[in-house]
């Protein structure tokens, strides 16, 4: 491969990297130093450390934590069972399939299910529980988020389960370990990398989603993503929006550091 050909191939790609990766991030950082009147200031960061924004960030992180934790709780056994079934490929495809359905449509479906006369209330009324508003609660927000993210948690854990040498489990059982010990001491440590990847795939998006909060939680839940959208598109305070975006990016970096796969010896 000649130098010219190589660099001709790389040129549009490098141009793309500069214009759409480096410059946008620089622009976000740059904008965070300006207030509404276009003055150069650190006000946005000072404002971020005010109780309102700190509380919002804390709540957003708390919700993201809950969503990630519940997803993991549901996904881990699913991945485990899945890796032990006969029709693996087909079942795996069935798990992936919902993740190809447009996010908005899945969220929209829950507007019907959780509605006053929806599926859930109809089900509850069988037990004589009166209909109640489930939409626009924290519960519905967390439930829908878990629903949307669950395939992204199952897949990496499933992959880790598949990579695990089957002989290890049998060896542990033969040597007298109980089922529970096998899970705790063999399977869990060996699938930890998959768990970390899953956490990364769920935690960051659940900090930044804004359409679920708007459609399902009816502005009751404000996440970092909702706040960014609000500042950029509603109040037009780009400086503050950019500041929150920077915080979100920093959180992403921290999460990725934490979730980085530990190199095995």
């Amino acid at each position: 491969m000649t130098r010219t050909l190589k660099w001709t191939l790389l040129a549009p790609y490098m141009l793309w990297i500069v214009v759409f990766v480096i410059i946008p991030i620089a622009l976000i950082a740059w904008n965070s130093f300006f207030d509404l009147e276009g003055r150069l200031t650190l006000d946005n960061f000072v404002r971020f450390f005010s109780p309102t924004y700190l509380k919002m960030s804390f709540i957003s992180i708390w919700y993201a934590f809950l969503i990630t934790f519940i997803s993991l709780l549901v996904a881990y056994p699913t991945a485990y069972v899945l890796s032990r079934t006969r029709h693996k490929q087909l079942l795996l495809l069935l798990i992936i399939l919902p993740s190809w359905v447009n996010l908005l449509l899945k969220t929209y479906a829950f507007m019907g299910i959780f509605g006053m006369y929806g599926l859930v209330n109809a089900f509850l009324s069988l037990f004589g529980i009166p209909a109640q508003e489930i939409l626009f609660t924290d519960f519905s927000f967390i439930f829908v988020s878990v629903y949307i993210f669950i395939p992204f948690m199952i897949l990496p854990i499933y992959n880790a389960m598949e990579e695990m040498p089957r002989g290890l489990i049998e060896a542990a059982l033969d040597l007298g370990a109980s089922q529970w010990t096998v899970i705790r001491r063999v399977i869990w440590p060996l699938t930890l990398d998959g768990v970390k990847t899953g956490i990364q795939a769920v935690f960051i998006p659940s900090l930044s989603l804004f359409m679920i909060t708007r459609l399902i939680a009816g502005n009751r839940v404000i996440t970092l993503g909702t706040a960014i959208e609000q500042h950029f598109l509603v109040t037009q305070d780009w400086g503050m929006g950019a500041t929150i975006a920077i915080v979100l990016v920093l959180m992403m970096v921290v999460t990725m550091r934490f979730a980085q796969a530990t190199p095995r010896a």
Binding site: L5, L9, L10, P12, P77, L119, L215
Partner: protein
């Protein structure tokens, strides 16, 4: 190894998970045929909502726009991404290559709200009017890294001897590229194209930021309609979209299976 009891339990668990995953989708599809006009109390079968959908010219235009954006952005992203991947593959400086790949991945892991907001600033600074063009550029931009990630592994699967053989037999670099490398990585390129297509069709957040007021894609339109409450023509639309998605998924699987088979034959030969 496992007792029957625990096997039943695990089977039951899997069934519950599948119910959890599919109930919302089925629910939405079933009610798209509800004569009652609400997403509850199924009072009779009707195709009215589909009729309403197909007489809604504004929405049909949006569908068309969405498809044009998806196909066009996927095609451009595939071209740029494939060229970039091949360039990266031949890059001898390891540091530079890894640096470029890190930058590449930033756009994949970055939350889409942040991408959307930063593109909005970028377009404003560049003076690009928000609308069809800005959405198209944004879709091209966020699809390129995924194409690179789909093509690169195929390149590393390619035996280096193949290129050496072609060069030794006197093929000029350009011919090595078009006759050896590109045919070999075609399954990766196809996969990249399909991924870019689905990324584009699925995107909401980035589009929402850079779409302005006159132009809309399906996701954005569904969002703004859903904010006004439930309308069963959205259900009808979802049902059709779900069908199309299924076709795409199975088309992709079929293509990749066929690609794998052809590759196997080709290698054997």
């Amino acid at each position: 190894m496992e007792r029957t009891g625990s096997r039943w339990l695990s089977r039951l668990y899997l069934i519950i998970v599948f119910i959890f995953l599919y109930v919302p989708i089925v629910y939405m599809i079933v009610y798209s045929f509800n004569a009652g006009g609400q997403m509850h109390h199924f009072s009779g079968f009707t195709l009215d909502w589909y009729r309403e959908l197909f007489s809604d010219t504004r929405l049909l235009m949006i569908v068309l726009n969405t498809l044009i954006i998806a196909l066009f952005s996927a095609a451009v992203a595939t071209a740029v991404g494939t060229m970039g991947a091949i360039g990266l593959y031949f890059l001898t400086q390891r540091r530079v290559r890894e640096g470029l790949l890190t930058l590449n991945n930033i756009l994949i892991v970055n939350p889409d709200v942040v991408i959307g907001a930063s593109f909005l600033i970028l377009f404003t600074v560049l003076g690009i009017q928000l609308g069809f063009i800005s959405v198209l550029i944004a879709h091209i931009a966020f699809s390129i890294p995924i194409v690179v990630l789909m093509v690169l592994p195929k390149l590393y699967e390619m035996p280096r001897t193949l290129i050496d053989a072609a060069s030794d037999l006197g093929a000029p670099p350009r011919q090595v590229l078009t006759r050896v490398i590109i045919p070999f990585i075609t399954p990766g390129i196809m996969a990249g194209f399909f991924m870019a297509l689905t990324y584009s069709l699925d995107d909401f957040a980035v589009t929402f930021f850079v779409t302005g007021s006159g132009f809309s894609t399906l996701s954005v339109e569904i969002y703004s309609r859903a904010r006004h409450g439930i309308s069963l023509s959205i259900n009808a639309l979802s049902t059709i979209l779900f069908g199309v998605t299924m076709l795409l998924v199975f088309g992709y699987y079929w293509l990749s299976q066929r690609g794998a088979r052809r590759l196997a034959l080709w290698v054997k030969r």
